[in-house]
Amino acid sequence: MTPAVPDELERAISRHHNSGDALIEILHTAQQLYGYLSPPVLKRIARALKLPPSKVLGVATFYHLFRFTPRKAHSAVVCLGTACYVAGGMELMSAVRERRGANPAEWTIDVGRCVGSCGLAPIVICDGEALPRVTAAQLEARLKEIHDGGHVNPDSPG
């Protein structure tokens, strides 16, 4: 892949003096730049930090926040922290899954482990917009609106 900003990652690496200790920081930077961690990017990082590629992949896959496939056009984060779970978060998850089932190429679903808005449970974040105390019916309507309305996800790369 051709990096959008070729030097940014290298700058981050040299800021950390090519130190293997900074691997997680550098993975964060790479994901911010490219949206996800592709095999060429992981190899570049391994070379620059003088680490075996297996170790870079091993660290990256250990942590939930790193992703290895590009983000899709729309995203939904369904919070399943305790407060949201007992307030019916699973029903919202089903609604979101149904939407993805219809358009699998367009929706990324993530499980949120507490977004810190427990007072507004259950909560779903669609394309960066928080939907507090949302019901399954309201959520379905909003998902359809986003989908049909050609809503542009501010978080989606490019």
Partner: protein, 548 residues
């Protein structure tokens, strides 16, 4: 920065604030952010402009004010009231202090939710602009660091902390003074202070709120700790899922370093202290101290057996002091007012205050800070307003996936480190989730076990395989497929995990099951023997020939 310039800065900012007609503080974090706090702030700023109040009225973003369920919240410093559920259209009326437009939405300082609290850790949260260091200095901030760096010896600082009897707020409750002493005694020339801000319990947002609302308090606490134990470098390990907390801590570190409150020769003393931020990437196990250290070193966050403990052998093999955010946030107040003052608050064996995050089926959700030892009933019913009409209290869950459920008959339990273990739960980091009779306790236990199963790092077998087996049994029970043999199996597995897991995650994973089995065994039995969920939550299909 010298002692004189600190005083001058403080007086100048206090004077500036006193000359303002009003300071309007807008909560722009967590719940209020989700409810539109930023839009309200922008509307207020626009109104200040339109009404020609620039220079007289200041609009600031702040951290959490506590009553998250009624956000967005806006506080007027001049009248000391909080306006709730503010909409952008309310901006003009709010600036005129026209309360008639806020029927039922004005929260006075005497409101039971506020009056029942004692705020030390959250003293500034919701009252200062966390992105301006001078605002913290105006509240007396960094005075304690000045004392610690220029007037006190490390031994005196540690003595003060020991007098305070402060216990670690991360959950285990280890005496902070003893931990500091262990690190201080180590002759190594390289030492570290690490702030554990990897708050991963679902339903817990206390630490995050402290970092979002008053990050300098934590930095000051860390620097004092560094002075006491002889460390020159600190790390804050923050949860990757809290971008705002990360941004505010970054800003705070930059400002403290620019003003010379962190870095070389703090207050012209021979004390040097730097703080760097490390960002986690979503692994619950990294809250465990050895896993956290591995993650700071850029490795997989997997724990290692203890001993040796981090005070002996920590980051890169050097002695390391690890304290939780809330523990460190107490330090400036203890140095300012003395260990004896702190020891006089709350429960005698574990003094001070504790921040709880109230959530679930409760009238008022949000953050509260109360003296340690306050009864659960007071917190839930006096401050939290009780369970809303039409619902019945069933249990309060404390301590997250490592904790347990407290049933109604134990509502008068004192919330402290020593009382909670007697009823099968623990203080934990401070998440407090109220469940009503529609919550099925078997399913709640399954939920927590699923969490532990997914978050198990996979290093030791009891945790890696045991959590999967226990989750399978619980999932079967919620489908009505449990058998009598599952009870002894659950108990045997619980014992196995507790005794043989490598770290706290596996050792504590059975707690939610053991606590629900203890207080709600009948519910498990109904699932297995009668294939019936008393809460009506689990969908158990009727057996062949059974009439529904």
């Amino acid at each position: 920065m010298t002692a004189d310039t600190l005083t001058q800065t403080r007086q100048a900012e206090q004077g500036r604030q006193d000359r303002l007609k009003d300071r309007i503080l807008c909560c722009t974090v967590a719940g209020c952010e989700s409810a539109g706090g930023q839009v309200v702030r922008a509307a207020l700023e626009e109104q200040v402009h339109t009404q020609g109040l620039a220079g007289q009225v200041e609009i600031c973003g702040t951290g959490c004010m506590g009553l998250c369920c009624r956000g967005p919240l806006v506080r007027s410093s001049a009248s000391d009231v909080i306006y709730a559920e503010v909409k952008p259209g309310d901006a003009a009326a709010l600036l005129r202090a026209d309360r008639s437009k806020f029927d039922g939405r004005v929260i006075e300082p005497g409101h039971p939710f506020l009056a029942g609290q004692r705020r030390i850790i959250l003293a500034n949260s919701g009252k200062v602009d966390p992105e301006r260091i001078v605002d913290y200095i105006a509240q007396g901030g960094y005075q304690s660091l000045l004392r610690a760096a220029t007037e006190m010896t490390p031994a005196e600082i540690i003595a003060e902390i020991k007098t305070s009897k402060l216990r670690g707020r991360g959950g285990a409750g280890y005496p902070t003074g003893l931990k500091w002493e262990l690190v201080a005694r180590n002759p190594s020339s390289i030492k570290y202070v690490v702030c554990n801000a990897d708050e991963g319990d679902p339903g817990a947002f206390m630490n995050r709120s402290v970092l979002e609302g008053d990050p300098h308090r934590v930095l000051e606490g860390m620097a004092i700790a560094g002075r006491a134990v002889g460390a020159q470098q600190g790390y804050i390990y923050a949860r990757g899922e809290s971008p705002l907390a990360i941004a505010r801590v970054k800003t705070a570190i930059e400002q403290a370093q620019q003003t010379g409150l962190l870095g070389g020769s703090v207050f012209d003393s021979n004390f040097h202290f730097r703080i760097d931020l490390r960002i986690g990437a979503g692994a619950y196990v990294c809250g465990e101290e050895t896993a956290l250290l591995a993650s700071i070193e850029g490795l997989r966050g997997q724990p290692v057996p203890r001993p040796p403990y981090p005070p002996e052998h920590g980051l890169w093999g050097h002695p390391t002091l690890i304290n939780n955010v809330e523990t460190l946030a107490n330090i400036p107040s203890i140095i300012e007012k003395g260990g004896e003052w702190f020891a006089s608050i709350g429960a005698p064996a574990s003094p001070g205050t504790k921040v709880f995050a109230l959530a679930g089926r409760i009238a008022r959700t949000g953050l509260v800070e109360v003296p340690v030892g306050t009864s659960l009933r007071t917190i839930l019913f006096d401050l939290g307003g009780g369970v809303p009409p039409g619902y019945e209290f069933k249990a309060a869950q404390t301590g997250g996936p490592a904790g347990g459920c407290i049933p109604a008959q134990h509502l008068d339990v004192a919330m402290d480190y020593d009382s909670l273990p007697h009823i099968g739960t623990m203080m934990g980091s401070g998440g407090l989730i109220v469940m009503d009779t529609s919550s099925c306790m078997v399913d709640v236990a399954r939920f927590f076990m699923e969490f532990c199963m997914e978050e198990s790092c996979g290093k030791c077998i009891p945790c890696r395989a045991g959590t999967v087996q226990m989750h399978d049994i619980l999932a079967r029970m919620t489908r009505g497929e449990g058998t009598e043999a599952d009870f002894p199996m659950l108990e045997a597995l619980s014992g196995l995990l507790k005794e043989t897991s490598l770290c706290g995650l596996g050792q504590a994973a059975p707690n939610p099951i053991l606590s629900t089995l203890r207080h709600f065994r009948g519910e498990y039995e109904a699932h297995v023997r009668e294939r019936h969920c008393p809460a009506g939550h689990c969908q158990i299909p009727a057996a062949v020939g059974e009439t529904v």
